[in-house]
Amino acid sequence: MTRWGMVIDLDRCTGCAACEVACKSENNLATVSPEQADMGRAFSWMKVMTEVSGEFPNTTMRFMPRPCMHCDNPPCVKVCPVAATYLGVEGIVGQIYPRCIGCRYCANACPYTVKYFNWFAPEFPESEREHLNPDVSVRPKGVIEKCTFCHHRLQKAREDARAEERELREADYQPACAEVCPTVAIVFGDLDNSRHRVHTLKSDPRAMRLMEELGTEPKVYYLAPRA
């Protein structure tokens, strides 16, 4: 059975945030004003978290890209009163925008705070408006949205593979963040397929998952930094 997942090597991450930018443009994330962003209303399905430690000048900075964890036991799915957020058969936690009633219970239930709410109708700068991705729906005001592992790309990749009468290959389906990562810190694939890189990487001794103790069974693994 296919279980889509991600392995992020924190030793390789340079904090360049290319993944954030790629995600925003791939998924038509709305732009908000600086004031709104200060209020905590910016959208960032993929977010590079930073942690500064030590006293100046001996400081170190660590980065941690954070997409949706696509839990196998997702707390957000359990609480949704209308099944607008669901666990797909291949393990992707999806959102049904036209069904969501905007109660934000899922957002509160998610221990990783990966859910974003449309406080207003989405806005895009003039220059972006013509370049919105036609494969991804623009969300209306009042609904929740989040990282989908770019599952619109999966549909396309699957159709292409079928047209060419071949199996789906690992390279056929990659989310935007994994595709652009210049240091290959983000690796994506089928966790249950032994030919995919993530299958091996997830068993690396450095591999860990965020808040594993909660039993949410995330499908995003991190390779802990060596030093």
Binding site: R66, P81, I101, N108, T216
Partner: protein
């Protein structure tokens, strides 16, 4: 008052005269207050329409502070609604005779405030236009859906529980002919107070009083579960169900006391809301202030002793952080003030219970605030930045409108229905005094038998 109505009223017995008077006499103060409250409600409706038009962005909510004033109000108002039905049902079931004067006014609080509580999560929705999705796509796993069902059931049950015991009074109004004859003829449903009808009525009330108690308890338990079922620090706690029920009854008692003091003053009900009622209700308030402390202490000590880092961030944010002021004001309002006042007999008066009641209502609102907001702004993941929350004028206007709307409806209800149960007062005067004497005698050894036994032994 029209002279014919005045004549009809004057022909009635003393209790009816006094208790039906508010239905036909309205003072200028009433109109003034109603107008003012109506204006605030209108203002709130304007604020809400702006929110619907432009989005929830008009509130102060953000990520991760997803729930604010509306959810606080939801928990708070549904809590107040436990006043009536539960108190009156428990007092009825336990045959507390002093209940007779106060049950009706308490039951009205329940039914009216419940609606205002139930609309809060709808006001909070990003897509109120899709509200019916909770039926079309009902997902029974979600505690929110349990809530929709239990509140629906509670609203139905408490409305019936308000209406059925009111039928004899509605028949009295119908027979007196003082007001809207067709309306009261319809509501009185052909009740003629025959012994058979009376017996059936009391039987139904007896069954309803028992049925309504578990329903009421389920309602606030489930509201507590909405929070407790998540993995959020200081929400994920097994005490939340009973803690919420206890808090709900507590705030409900406080609300009844406030209503009683105002009704007593406005409608000259000193003969019905007597010092003994304030004394007994004050004792109940005292009992619940101690219970409140017990539950709160147990909840916080458990979190503190376990000392999980995620829990401790929220814990200290409340005790000595950005939420210290609302937290300690809550302790003052829910525990220190009511305890200090209600533990003294001289303070269990209308004035003393009013002060304690107001302190508890404010304290309990703050308790809901202290549950919802500090956990929201402290995400479990420490790399996530802390949230902040400043309610917008839209939220505050809707808050004011909700309070005003409830008070306004309650005022209007006193103009349509007698706020003290006439027939239950009469029944008390005619039967209960003897019944109680018989009951007490039944608890004790029979004096004749005791004498006989003593004689045998001797």
């Amino acid at each position: 008052m029209r002279s014919d109505v005045a004549d009809q009223l004057a022909r009635l017995p003393a209790d009816e005269q006094k208790l039906l008077r508010p239905l036909v006499v309205t003072t200028p103060v009433f109109y003034l207050a109603a107008g003012l409250l109506g204006a605030i409600v209108l203002w709130g409706i304007i604020a809400y329409s702006l929110q619907v038009r432009f989005g929830l962005g008009r509130t102060g909510l953000n990520r991760p502070e997803y729930w604010g004033i509306y959810i606080i109000d939801f928990v708070f108002f549904i809590g107040i609604s436990h006043a009536g039905t539960l108190i009156s049902a428990i007092l009825r079931v336990s045959k507390a005779e002093w209940r007779r004067g106060i049950t009706r006014s308490a039951e009205f609080i329940t039914v009216l405030v419940l609606g205002f509580g139930a609309i809060q999560p709808i006001i909070d929705l990003g897509r109120p236009d899709r509200l019916l999705n909770v039926m079309f796509h009902a997902q029974l796993r979600s505690p929110l859906l349990w809530d929709v069902m239990s509140i629906g059931l509670y609203f139905t049950a408490s409305t019936i529980y308000l209406y059925i015991p009111m039928i004899p009074d509605l028949a009295i109004i119908r027979d007196a002919g003082i007001k809207a004859p067709r309306f009261y003829r319809f509501l009185a449903a052909g009740y003629q107070d025959t012994p058979a009808q009376r017996a059936r009525l009391e039987r139904i009330i007896g069954i309803l009083a028992i049925v309504v108690i578990p329903i009421a308890i389920s309602v606030h338990t489930i509201i507590g579960w909405i929070f407790a079922m998540t993995l959020r620090p200081m929400w994920h706690s097994t005490i939340f169900g009973p803690y919420f029920v206890m808090g709900a009854i507590y705030s409900g008692i406080a609300a009844i006391l406030i209503a009683m003091v105002i009704l007593r003053r406005a409608y000259r009900l000193e003969d019905y809301f007597k010092p003994i009622h304030f004394d007994y209700m004050g004792r109940l308030l005292l009992l619940f202030s101690l219970l409140w402390f017990y539950f709160t202490f147990a909840e916080y000590l458990t979190a503190f002793y376990g000392a999980e880092p995620a829990e401790m961030r929220t814990f200290w944010a409340k005790l000595a952080g950005p939420f210290a002021v609302p937290f300690w004001m809550m302790v003052l309002g829910c525990f220190i003030i009511p305890l200090a006042l209600m533990s003294r007999r001289s303070m269990r008066t209308p004035r003393g219970t009013l002060i304690a009641g107001i302190a508890v209502v404010i304290g309990m609102w703050l308790e809901r605030f202290n549950i919802v907001v500090p956990t929201s702004v402290n995400p479990r993941w420490e790399m996530e930045s802390l949230g902040h929350y400043l309610p917008s004028w839209v939220e505050l206007s809707i808050l004011a409108a909700t309070f005003s709307g409830f008070i306004l409806l309650y005022m209007l209800a006193t103009k349509v229905f007698p706020i003290v149960s006439i027939w239950e007062i009469k029944e008390g005067q005619e039967h209960s005094v003897r019944d109680v004497a018989d009951r007490v005698a039944g608890y004790l050894p029979d004096p004749a038998a005791a004498t006989a036994a003593a004689g045998r032994d001797g």
